[in-house]
Subunit: 308 residues, 2 copies
Amino acid sequence: MPDTPVPFGDDVSAVDLGRRRLAVIKTDMLVGKTDVPPGMSLRQAARKAVVMNISDLAAKGVEPAAILASIGVPRGFTDKDIEQIGKGLNDGAREYGAYVLGGDTNEASDLVISCAALGICERDYLIRRSGARPRDLVAVTGLFGKTSSGLKILLEDFPFPPKIGKELVNSVFKPRARLREGLALAQTRAVTASIDSSDGLAWSLHEISRASNVGFILNILPVAQEAKEFAKIHNLDPVELSLYGGEEYEILVTVKPKLWEAAERALKRVEASLIKIGVVTMKKALTLRMREKTVTIEARGWEHFKTP
Amino acid sequence: MPDTPVPFGDDVSAVDLGRRRLAVIKTDMLVGKTDVPPGMSLRQAARKAVVMNISDLAAKGVEPAAILASIGVPRGFTDKDIEQIGKGLNDGAREYGAYVLGGDTNEASDLVISCAALGICERDYLIRRSGARPRDLVAVTGLFGKTSSGLKILLEDFPFPPKIGKELVNSVFKPRARLREGLALAQTRAVTASIDSSDGLAWSLHEISRASNVGFILNILPVAQEAKEFAKIHNLDPVELSLYGGEEYEILVTVKPKLWEAAERALKRVEASLIKIGVVTMKKALTLRMREKTVTIEARGWEHFKTP
C-alpha cells in the first residue's frame, strides 16, 4: 500500500482514517501442535490466542476494540469443546476491554485459532520499530525466563520445587499482554521504538536493530527470580532462559534519555514498572555486558515446540 | 459489544468510528484438506482465501482496503511454496483494489490460510441480513451450479465434455467476489438484506429468513447453462447442484419492489446483472415453485469436502 502509516513487517498494520486517526489491525495464529503445551486447557488456549494479538497492539500503544476468531478444529471435538474455546476467546477480549465480534469454525487436522484484533488510535501516538536512536535507553516492562522454565517443566518433565513451579507454569498457561503499560508509554511520547517480545528478547532486539539501524549494549539481564532459581537447580544458563525463550508478552522499548523519568512515572501511575536494561548504540552490534563476561546477543528466536 | 453496528452472526463485524463511519472487518479461514481440491495451485488457493473474505465485504457493500494473512504450512513446504502463497494473496487483494499489509507464517499439520479483511464504509450504506420485508423481490448477481459440477469433476472424476469442463473447473479454481455489484447495490439504497452465497444458495436463503423473520417463494431456479448441461449428461438434479452447492460467491439480495429498476440499472452500469428469482413472504416457509412441481428449500448447506 502506498503511504502505509506502518511499514510492512512491524507488529501491526494500519489504514489511514483521515483526521489523524488510524485503524490498526493484527492477525496471528495459535496452532495446537506448536503453541498449546500439555496441561493447557482449551479455554486457556483460546484466551492465549487473543492475548497474542492484543500484545502486539499493546506494544504499539493501541487499545483493542474488536476481536474476530477463525477456528479450525479436528474431527471429534464436541460442542462443549467449542463452547470452551468461545469462553476463552471472551476471557481474553474482556480482560482488555475488547469484544469478540464474530468468527467462524472450520474442520482442520489440528486445532488452529486465528484471531484478528482491531483498534483505533491517533496517528501521532503509534510507536513503530524504526525510531530508536543512539543513546536512547533500552527498557522492558517485566522480567524474562519464566515461560522457558515453565515449558521445560511441561514439555521435558523437569522436576520443580512447588514454591516456584506454579508461578512458572502459570506464566505459560495465563500469559498477560502489557496493555496498560503500552497505552501509558504511548501517551508520554518518550518512546522512540517498541516491539512485543513474544519471539524472545534477543530476537526482538534484533528486530529493532534492523528496523532502526542501530545496535544495543545491555548491562542488565532481566531475569525473573523464579527463573534464576530454576536455572540454579537444574544447572541451566539464565542467559539462555531469558534471552532466547519466547511466548513472553513483555514490551521492549527504547526511550529518549531526557524523558526517561516521565516514562518511569507514567508506568508507576498504572502500577507497573519500567526496567532499564541498556542503551542504544550507533554501532550495529548487540552485546550483553555482565560482571563476569561480555557476550554477543545472537539473532536466535523462539522456536515453537512440538507436543508429543 | 453493546450497540454494535452489525449484529453477531452477520457476514461481517463492525466498529463505530464516529461521524457515521464504520470500520468493517471479516476473518475466514481456508483449510487445505477441505477447501483446496486436487489440481488447485498454491497460488490459486491463497488467492481464494482472500476472495472468500472480500466476498463477505462485497455482500455488505463495503470496499476492502487491507488484507492480513496468518498462514500455517506443513513441514516440507519450501520457500518457493511460501512465495507462491504470497503471490496468490497479492493477486486476490490487488484484483479488488486492496493491499496485503501483513501477516505471519506458522507450522501446522495442514495448509491453513486465515485472512482478515478491513474496509471503511458509511454507516448508512451497510446492508445487513435482517432487513428483508414481505413483498421485497429476491435476486442474485449470477447463476449457480458451476462449482458443484466442477467439484464433481475434480473430486469424483466425473467425465466432462471439453467445451464446458474448463468453465466448470475454473469456477472452482478462480472464484470471483462480486465487489462491483455489491458496491453498486449499496449505493442504490434499494437493498433491504444481503448475504454472500458461499455456504450455498439454500443455506443463504435460510440465513436471511432467520435474520429477517420472513419466508421466500422462488419461481426461478438460477442454474448456469453449463451446470444444466452437466446435469443432463450425468443425470443429476439441477436443483441439487444449484441450491445446495457452495463455494459460489454470488450475492443474494432482497430489493424494495419500487426500487427494483434502479437496482437493475445500477448493475447494468457496472456491466453486471441482477437476476430476479422470487419474492419475500410473511409466512416463514421457503419454497421453490417450478413448472413441474413445488419443493421445499431445505436448510442444508455446503459441506466442505475431504481431499483424498
